[in-house]
């Protein structure tokens, strides 16, 4: 009956927690995910939703260029990628450039470009808000416009300045045409002509995110950018921002092998069974009752500590001597209290000690008894003598 009460409390508590979570206004997650699944401001869900209007087929991928092109390089098409920074390996770059030069178009959007690709074309981007090269524009919105003559260069698109603030500082001018510029006239989208194809680089990936995409006519900027690509076989890779999007643990391998996954699931299953069945009570609960403690040893150590702090060795020696006399009396029926009655030969014979030792011991005892105080070595010495004497 008691247990039910606790269960009830628990259920009520969980219910309250869940309803608070459900009823409270949802707060936005302002993390830059650039994910096609993310409906938060910096996801690209909206863009992904309208892409099918432009492209015939879109394949989502979580692989690097090298991995994609290893399989897909024969099909003509395009690649699109959004990331905060794009860092390509030599293999990626080689595969990509080979792909582009065959006449395919690729659109890469990132705040920063690093690695082989950036080195090859001498590309670098600058963040004018944070790198602060003297240009401080107080206006909170900024404009992007197309500069390519094949496009409508008169339309401007308004964005929040705080999210669109990277531009290309340097690029290979021989190969490059500027496609779009910001309101300071700096390039934000450039086109690199490589072989028969074109590589489009963009420095404002946030312009394609939900919040910017959905504001006013900005979707036209995105669709205009997207329309630079061929409409066939588009591959959208999120590898460069999100990574592989699959378990990065050894389990990936274990689960991919049949025998190991059997072993793994067997262990998990056995553990669950073990927890459930071993958790059941085999006998009732036994409350803890501390047993009565015999404290005499603690008592002795407390008292002896008090004496020890006083360091009255004489007192302790006298206690030991009194005990010794008592032992003599109770074990050997010897009365050694009175010096006059002491017969050392008799005592030595009865206790099985040497006469010399006996005489020496009693001399020490008399000596100690007659003195005001004794030192600690003397106490240790008399203790040894007494113990030795009684051991015989």
């Amino acid at each position: 009956m008691k247990d039910w009460k606790y269960v009830l409390y628990l259920v009520i508590f969980i219910g309250i927690y869940v309803s608070i979570q459900l009823l409270s206004p949802k707060s936005h997650n302002w993390t830059i995910t650039l994910s096609h699944l993310d409906k938060d401001p910096y996801g690209t869900y909206a863009l992904h939703e309208v892409m099918p209007d432009i492209f015939d087929s879109i394949r989502l991928s979580n692989e690097s260029f090298y991995e994609i092109l290893e399989v897909d390089s024969l099909n003509p098409g395009g690649i699109i990628s959004f990331s905060t920074s794009l860092n390509t390996q030599a293999e990626d770059t080689d595969a990509l450039l080979k792909y582009v030069s065959k006449g395919n178009n690729v659109f890469l959007s990132a705040h920063y470009f690093y690695g082989q690709l950036a080195d090859t074309f001498n590309i670098s981007t600058v963040d004018y808000l944070f790198d602060g090269n003297g240009i401080i524009d107080q206006r909170d919105s900024m404009e992007l416009r197309y500069s390519n003559t094949t496009m409508d260069t008169t339309t401007t698109f308004l964005f929040r300045r705080s999210s669109i603030h990277n531009y290309f500082q340097s690029y290979d001018t021989l190969l490059t045409t500027v496609v779009a510029r910001n309101d300071m006239g700096e390039a934000v989208t450039i086109k690199l002509n490589i072989g028969e194809g074109a590589l489009y680089l963009n420095s404002t990936p946030l312009a394609f995110t939900n919040i910017n995409f959905l504001s006013k006519e900005n979707h036209q900027f995105a669709s205009a950018s997207a329309s630079l690509l061929d409409t066939k076989n588009l591959i959208w890779t999120e590898f460069y921002h999100l990574g592989r999007m699959e378990a990065q643990t050894p389990l990936r391998f274990i689960l991919s092998q049949e025998s190991l996954s059997w072993a793994y699931y067997l262990i998990i299953g056995a553990l669950l069974l073990f927890m459930f069945f071993e958790g059941k009570r085999k006998q009732r609960i036994i409350p803890i009752i501390p047993p009565l403690q015999n404290t005499s040893l603690e008592f002795v150590s407390t008292i002896s500590n008090l004496y020890y702090q006083h360091a009255d060795h004489k007192n302790i020696a006298e206690k030991k001597i009194a005990f010794f006399f008592d032992q003599l009396r109770s074990q050997f029926y010897i009365d050694a209290h009175h010096i006059a009655k002491r017969d050392y030969e008799h005592i030595a014979a009865k206790t099985g000690n040497d006469v010399v030792v006996t005489t020496a011991l009693f001399k020490t005892i008399t000596n100690i008894q007659s003195r005001e105080s004794i030192s600690s070595p003397e106490l240790i010495d008399i203790t040894k003598q007494l113990d030795q004497f009684l051991k015989q």
């Binding site: 025998s259 190991l260 069945f277 009565l292 005499s296 040893l297 002795v300 500590n305 005990f323 109770s330």
Partner: protein
């Protein structure tokens, strides 16, 4: 279904087999192409579990069992408990028994394992030693039964909720009672008392054997039988023996789990019984800051029962004892010279000296025996080898406390009071000895 899940347990063998399977699976990863072996083994494990389950649950009642406990337990003694088991399955079963013994024992690992053939009956005896009086509640006996397959177990419970009171040691009472009846108290460790002085109560006329006191030759009988006959006398009868039990602070110290108070209670029970068997009258007084219980001395049939119940019910707060209250009660209530067996404890002579006036006053009218305890916990300290100064101090203090007890005996003897210094475990025997000695010496 719920009943099944509640009573079903998985044995360790199951998990061992699973671990074996896991190892095989891993092995089959190393040696490719053999994965079918562990797979088949896995299926056979599941099949074996199903078979085991069916075997266990096919019958409604797989076993019979009962726990036999005495009507009451004896405090401080080893009490025998028996668990009876009968296997009703048609195959040999392994039984793991978890007995829910009263929580006062604080035993969480009481577990037995037996194997029973089909239809076999077995009784498992075990012993428990309670160290506190009061009511003890036994829970169920839980038995986990498993088949020869040994993968699963089924739980049976029986003998639920049994309340057993723990009484002062009636076992010791019986033991010494038998000895007292057969007049064999001199044997079995209870030493022979040399009889000093003469008893006055006539018992019988016997033929003279050498060693008999020739002053007691009965000349009339001798002339009749033309053999030397002597009168034999026996101990005085109908003397009062009171057990006075101190329930104060000093009696709280436990030795071997049992508090000094319970040692005293056990000893009083035994001594009262022996006194009654020896045709004396036994009584009881317990006290701490006031006098709590007074059972007037009597030799009636029900007296032992009265004393036993009174002793069973003793409760205490272990506060400071007031001997003046005891003194007043005894002066007021006891108007016949009695043997007073006072169970108490003193650590120092000073503690005794405060109470001495009461003792001497009581000793004037009665025969007072002050029974107190050696501190056996200190014994190993006394025999310890000392090396450093701190240990020497400790040992010296222990020696002092030990000596102090002897001084207390001396101090009491100086005032004409009988004293008995005993180890707690020897209390009963020593008390009986003292009683017999005092009776033999005609001191009451």
């Amino acid at each position: 279904m719920i009943r099944l899940i509640k009573s079903l347990f998985i044995n360790h063998r199951f998990f061992q087999v699973v671990i074996g399977l896991v190892v095989l699976f891993i092995f089959s990863f190393v040696v490719q192409g053999l994965i079918w072996i562990p797979k088949i083994l896995f299926l056979s494990l599941i099949a074996a579990c199903v078979v085991d389950l069916v075997l266990l649950y096919r019958v409604k009642k797989g076993m019979l069992g009962a726990r036999f406990t005495p009507d009451k337990l004896s405090n401080g003694d080893e009490n025998e408990i028996r668990i009876y088991l009968e296997n009703l399955y048609v195959f040999t079963t392994r039984h793991r028994i978890f007995d829910e013994i009263p929580h006062q024992f604080q035993k969480r690992d009481l577990q037995f394992e037996v194997e029973l053939k089909a239809g076999e009956k077995k009784t498992i005896p075990y012993f428990i030693r309670p160290v506190k009086r009061g009511e003890y509640s036994f829970g169920a006996v839980n038995v986990l039964v498993s088949t020869p397959l040994g993968l699963l177990s089924r739980k049976f419970s029986f003998s639920q909720n049994k309340m057993v009171p723990v009484y002062p040691s009636y076992m010791q009472m019986r033991k010494y009672e038998l000895l007292a009846i057969s007049n064999r108290l001199m044997e079995t460790g209870i030493k022979k008392i040399r009889r000093i002085g003469h008893n006055q109560e006539f018992e019988l006329i016997k033929e003279y054997v050498s060693g008999d006191d020739f002053r007691t030759v009965n000349w009339k009988a001798t002339s009749r039988r033309s053999k030397l006959m002597v009168n034999h006398y026996q101990d005085e009868r109908s003397q009062q023996v009171y057990s006075l039990i101190d329930k104060g602070r000093a009696m709280q110290m436990p030795f071997d789990g049992l508090s000094l108070l319970d040692y005293a209670i056990n000893a009083s029970l035994v001594i009262s019984n022996i006194a009654i068997k020896k045709s004396d009258k036994a009584g009881l007084i317990t006290f701490q800051e006031t006098v709590n219980t007074v059972v007037p001395a009597a030799r009636l049939n029900g007296q032992m029962r009265n004393i036993q119940e009174a002793l069973y019910k003793q409760k205490t707060a272990f506060v400071e004892t007031d001997f003046s209250a005891l003194h007043a009660t005894i002066r007021h209530k006891l108007n016949q010279r009695s043997l007073l067996l006072l169970f108490t404890n003193f650590e120092t002579v000073f503690a005794l000296q405060r109470q001495l006036p009461y003792f001497t006053s009581l000793a004037r009218q009665h025969l007072l025996v002050v029974i107190f305890f050696e501190n056996t916990e200190l014994h190993h300290l006394l025999n310890k080898k000392t090396d450093d100064l701190k240990e020497i101090y400790q040992k010296a203090i222990a020696e002092r406390l030990h000596l102090e007890k002897k001084l207390i005996v001396k101090e009491l003897q100086k005032h004409g009071i009988q004293a008995l210094l005993t180890k707690p475990e020897n209390l009963t025997v020593n008390t009986i000895n003292k009683y017999l000695e005092l009776k033999a010496r005609n001191l009451i």
